[in-house]
């Protein structure tokens, strides 16, 4: 793909390259959600009390989500056959280089953490399905190693999750030429959004009531911080420069205003936060709509940001 290294963004002079299509929002969404699940799985393992079977095997959700996301990203590469070149170097200043290496770390960390999270019965259940003896032996050795390092793996999971979440935002914000993305707040914003979508994703599965309360508390907290960060982001853009004001204008009266405030803020943040608060404080029934709204809102956030940034 073509990276743009110019700092100016003048429609009259520079050609408008539609660089990124649907693949990038999908990648950012899945990456953020994976980061959220990594962080929350780690936190769940550090809690007192037994984890439910669902919470245990959901530790494997992250590598699956990352793989699907990478698949989408791979489709976007202009020169697909050269993907291996990413892993020959580490360029300090390129977020894509960082990202490639974060993902390299993420796989073993999440897989080992997943092995450590499985209960005895779950692991034996998988072993029962494994036909090849050699693979089975390796898995047992890996699990033994993982169980010994369980605590450390949890912290690595947490740290890598934070790095992954922040990275998805920084990926956009280092492209200073795109005025809408020219904000240091994008990293934290996408991290917090990833945390929220990760919590929502986990809530869709059969976790215990206790774990659900835990996830709901984190989701509401994440949504609250996300709202504040969105506000600061818009304020920051409008006070930065003329280009920043124009870009922020897209969300404050321009083409993307209605979609952003309706789908992301009202539908994806405020309404689910209301529902989840009612659920936990007033003990209303559990509903799958609130997490689904969060997921839809999180995807819409990334879609709108990628589309609006390329106007």
């Amino acid at each position: 793909m073509t990276e743009i290294d110019v700092a100016r963004h003048s429609l009259q002079i520079d050609p408008v390259l539609h660089v990124w299509g649907w693949e990038i929002p999908v990648y950012l969404f899945l990456g953020g959600m994976a980061a959220g699940t990594m962080i929350l799985s780690a936190l769940l393992s550090m809690r007192k009390g037994e984890r439910s079977p669902a919470a245990r095997w959901l530790a494997f959700a992250a590598p699956v989500l990352i793989s699907v996301g990478m698949g989408a990203l791979f489709l976007d590469l202009a020169h697909k056959l050269y993907v291996w070149r990413f892993y020959l170097a580490l360029r300090w200043t390129s977020p894509m280089s960082w990202g490639a290496w974060i993902l390299v770390v993420a796989y073993p960390v999440t897989l080992l953490f997943g092995l450590a999270s499985l209960s005895g019965e779950q692991f034996e259940g998988i072993m029962g399905k494994c036909r090849v003896a050699a693979v089975g032996r390796q898995l047992r050795k890996a699990r033994a190693f993982a169980l010994g390092q369980a605590r450390r793996l949890a912290w690595w999971n947490l740290g890598t999750g934070v790095a992954l979440g922040v990275y998805t935002g920084i990926l956009l914000s280092t492209l200073g030429a795109r005025a809408l993305w020219n904000s240091a707040l994008l990293g934290p914003l996408f991290l917090v959004s990833g945390l929220s979508t990760g919590a929502a994703f986990l809530m869709l599965f059969r976790v215990t009531e206790d774990e659900r309360h835990f996830l709901v508390r984190w989701d509401v907290l994440a949504i609250g911080i996300e709202l504040v960060l969105i506000l600061l982001f818009l304020v920051g853009l409008t006070t930065a420069s003329a280009a920043g004001r124009e870009a922020a204008g897209l969300l404050l009266g321009g083409r993307y205003t209605a979609q952003f405030w309706t789908l992301v803020v009202i539908g994806g943040l405020l309404v689910p936060a209301l529902l989840e608060t009612l659920e936990s404080k007033l003990h209303y029934r559990v509903t799958a709509m609130a997490p689904l709204l969060v997921l839809a809102g999180g995807f819409a956030l990334r879609w709108i940001f990628v589309a609006a940034g390329q106007v």
Binding site: A258, T262, I266, V271, L275, H283, Y284, R285, T287, M289
Partner: protein, 171 residues
């Protein structure tokens, strides 16, 4: 906390509340509430995704298709709000439940078929009348349009006239 799903608002108060929402819509936006227009846009979006040529060739559909942006329309956003509001209302009143409502002794499958057929009739009729009970009767009635009042009386007449024929569905 279990809410009582059979407890509804007092209908007079609900009417006043609905009237205030309608008044707000008229006084702030200059348009009344509505529903059927958004349904058309949803259908056109679906058809247009697979057969854009057909949509653009048919005059009425092309106008709703709006050059590939059928949802760029106030009613579409209003209806999104209706869905969210209806959901939150049902959730907080204890009435949120996946079920099929019908009279006693009426098979569920037939009820769903009747719902579909009745919907098709209403969808077509709403085009002829330039709006449904929300848009034409409520909004037009409040603004005292003659056609809206004639429409409203006709709706009640049609319902009462047909009630006997479908009594098994409800009683």
């Amino acid at each position: 906390m279990e809410r009582n799903p059979d407890k509804f608002w007092n209908p007079y108060l609900a009417g006043v509340a609905l009237g205030l929402v309608l008044l707000a819509s008229i006084a702030i936006m200059g348009v009344g509430l509505g529903a059927s227009g958004a349904s058309l846009r949803m259908g056109v979006a679906a058809v247009g995704a697979v057969a854009p040529g057909f949509v653009e060739g048919t005059p009425g559909l092309a106008r709703a298709w709006n050059h590939g942006r059928p949802f760029d329309f106030w009613l579409s956003f209003e209806v999104l709000g209706v869905l969210l509001g209806g959901f939150v209302g049902a959730y907080t009143s204890g009435r949120l439940k996946a079920e099929t409502l019908s009279g006693p002794n009426f098979p569920k499958g037939k009820r769903l078929l009747f719902a579909l057929v009745g919907g098709v009739i209403m969808g077509a009729a709403a085009r002829v009348t330039r709006g449904c009970t929300s848009g034409q009767a409520l909004s037009g009635g409040a603004l005292m349009s003659v056609g809206s009042w004639a429409f409203m009386f006709s709706v009640f007449a049609g319902g009462y006239a047909t009630a006997w024929f479908v009594r098994k569905e409800w009683r």
